[in-house]
Amino acid sequence: MTALYLTLLFPLAGTLLLAVIGHWRRAGMVNTLITVATFACAVRLALEVFNRGPLLSPGKMFYVDAFNVYLILLNTLVGMTTAIFSDPYMAHEVAIGRVDDGRMRLYHAMFQGFLLTMLVALSTNNLGLLWVAVEGVTLATVLLVSLYRTPESIEAGWKYFILCGVGIAQALFGTVLIYFAAERILPGSDESLLWSVLYSRASELEPTVLSLAFVFLLVGYGTKVGLVPLHNWLPDAHSEGPTPMSAILSGLLLNIALYALVRFKMLIDPALPGGLPGKMMMGFGLLSFTVAALLLHRQRDVKRLFSYSSIEHMGLMTFAFGLGGPLATFGALLHMIVHSLTKSALFVTVGHVAHVAGTQSMDKIRGLIHTQPLLGWTFLIGTVAIAGFPPFGIFTSEFLLFTATMKATPWLVIPLLVGLCIAFAGLFRHLQLMVYGDPPAGQTPVVANIWPVILHLALVLWLGVAIPDVLVRWLDQATILVVGKGVL
């Protein structure tokens, strides 16, 4: 229990502390240390849950089981490596005069606030507070998107604020409807929005209200997942903010929204025998996957390119969770991990690339492998991994997904495979020139902090070659929670 409280307390203290001292020269270091401490507590928490099963806090405020604890661990890990990267990166941004002291304070405080709200969203037991925390994530990040105060970044921030606000309002209406249904079986109780209470009585909930509620929840949280046609804010927000933010937004935030959606699906499925939530998720997932794969071809900005790749992968995961069944769910859970690791690594690399080339425009980035070989190689390898090539982990999870699809609905494998090829072509037509072309005059190497990237890619490679037994059992526990039966 202590481990859980500490996991939440460290980022909370960090938010308050860095709001005061965030402009110090060593503030980046403080930021890193706090994330390291948070990660250590999360490891403790994960071990506790792994050994003793689900954890319910005394006031029933927090509930941690195999499903959310692995996301908590992933969040704190990526938060830590991103903080390590952010320290010198932001120092460079200060040095070239893109941000001043006040904004550095805001940046550091909100970095921690962002991690805090995500961890609250993951660990809360109350479906209403889940909404509050997800909205809190938007509020914490909206000023970070517009940190550079260029007209473009302000536009991106405003769009993010309004679109996500409107979207997430639908999710609150859905939550009210769930509460309405819950009140009918637990009248007058203050506990009728608690996950631990509701889940055990899910089959008694009123199906007509639930199906209506899920439509609103899907639109609401789907906006935050970045599902087409509600994805408009995503490429802007991810490309205009500072790179460490892009890494966490793409790597983690989208997972949180998808997590919320899956939780609600778990709640609604037992009462609705037709599997309406699953079918809707499959439809939206497939649409997002295909549209994003096509749009990859039209991009000019390197960060926008990888934002669309995020939409594509989130679409694939939404599809897999919608498909249901142990194998697809296991694959989707694994995909969440490998996608987060690879995507945040890629954004970190892209941040360095943008410093080397002095621009984010892909037409002007050329010949990285000649200018700075290490950076060029990691960029190449990261993109190979995100495109789903063996031996990386994304290949494994996608292979599992496709196998599951082949068993359940074979004809859907065709659009999936076509989409994958389109996405592959979309990524590589841009990558080729950026990595191998002739470097323009005046392109010089920068001091790159490449360790976080190498760590992430090594982990993804490891997961692709041999998933450790512990992780398999762990993901299997989570799969059992989500669909009722495991793959083992």
């Binding site: 109350n126 209403g128 507070l129 909404w131 509050v132 925390a133 909205e135 809190g136 509020l139 909206v142 000023l143 517009s146 105060r149 260029t150 007209p151 473009e152 302000i154 536009e155 991106a156 921030g157 405003w158 769009k159 604020f161 309004i162 606000g165 409107v166 309002a169 639908q170 609150l172 209406f173 939550t175 009210v176 409807l177 509460y179 309405f180 009140e183 009918r184 203050d190 009728s192 929005l193 009123e206 007509t208 209200v209 209506l212 802007d236 205009e240 749009l295 039209r298 991009q299 000019r300």
Partner: protein, 226 residues
């Protein structure tokens, strides 16, 4: 069931619901910013009254706290802050044309209201609560808020649309389930407060960035080929 056959308090709640929906339509059509902010405050007053009524008839006393929060946040703080910003940014006299033609937007809002009643049909059939008709109204308020965000060009008007959506959500929670659990309501109120402050900060950024609060001019980010 005819309106006159219902108990007195229910008649009042239904009347208030109708008035809240009416203010939503007013918000949609109002072109002057200061009047718009005042109308929004009035919607807050009606919402607060409805909450107090539901609280006293249902005996759920935590709803009184929600009503007080509504009064402070939506009737006083947010309108006061918006008004102050409008004065400071010197856009008091600005009048905007409602995008797509006012009458067309009104017809759209009417259609959304009908749609809300259609969506709420299965819930109304189930509800045992005295206030079942009002779920459709609250959904209509939410959707009209959305329509307002889409059709308005001024950032201030979009914020009012956003906040009026929140009003609709709050009303839904009050009438459908006698309010959400206290901890959730506090959280939502906190989010609304932070959002209101952030919007204020954004006004200055937008103004500094593009020299106006016309969000139509925020159009630099395009798909693909620029």
């Amino acid at each position: 069931m005819a309106l006159a056959q219902l108990p007195m308090t229910e008649q009042w709640i239904l009347t208030l619901a109708a008035l809240i929906l009416f203010t939503s339509f007013l918000l949609l059509a109002q072109a002057r910013l200061i009047t718009l902010i005042h109308t929004f405050a009035w919607q807050g007053v009606l919402l607060c009254l409805a909450t107090v009524l539901v609280a006293s008839t249902s005996g759920r006393h935590h709803l009184f706290i929600s009503a007080a929060m509504t009064l402070v946040l939506k009737v006083f703080f947010i309108p006061w802050q918006l008004r102050r910003l409008v004065v400071r940014l010197d856009i008091r006299r600005e009048v905007e044309t409602v995008g797509g033609g006012a009458s067309l937007v009104m017809i759209g809002a009417g259609a959304l209201t009908l749609f809300s009643y259609y969506v709420a049909l299965p819930i109304r059939a189930l509800s045992l609560l005295a206030t079942r008709n009002t779920i459709a109204v609250s959904l209509a308020v939410i959707l009209i808020g959305m329509l307002m965000i889409i059709t308005r060009r001024k950032a201030v008007a979009q914020v009012i649309g956003f906040m009026s959506m929140e009003n609709g959500l709050f009303f839904a929670a009050v009438v459908a389930t006698y309010g959400m659990p206290m901890v959730v309501e506090l959280g939502v109120a906190f989010d609304v407060l932070v959002a209101a402050i952030l919007f204020g900060i954004f006004f200055f950024h937008i103004r500094a960035g593009i020299g106006s609060l016309d969000v139509d001019r925020l159009n630099r980010l395009r798909e693909g080929d620029k």
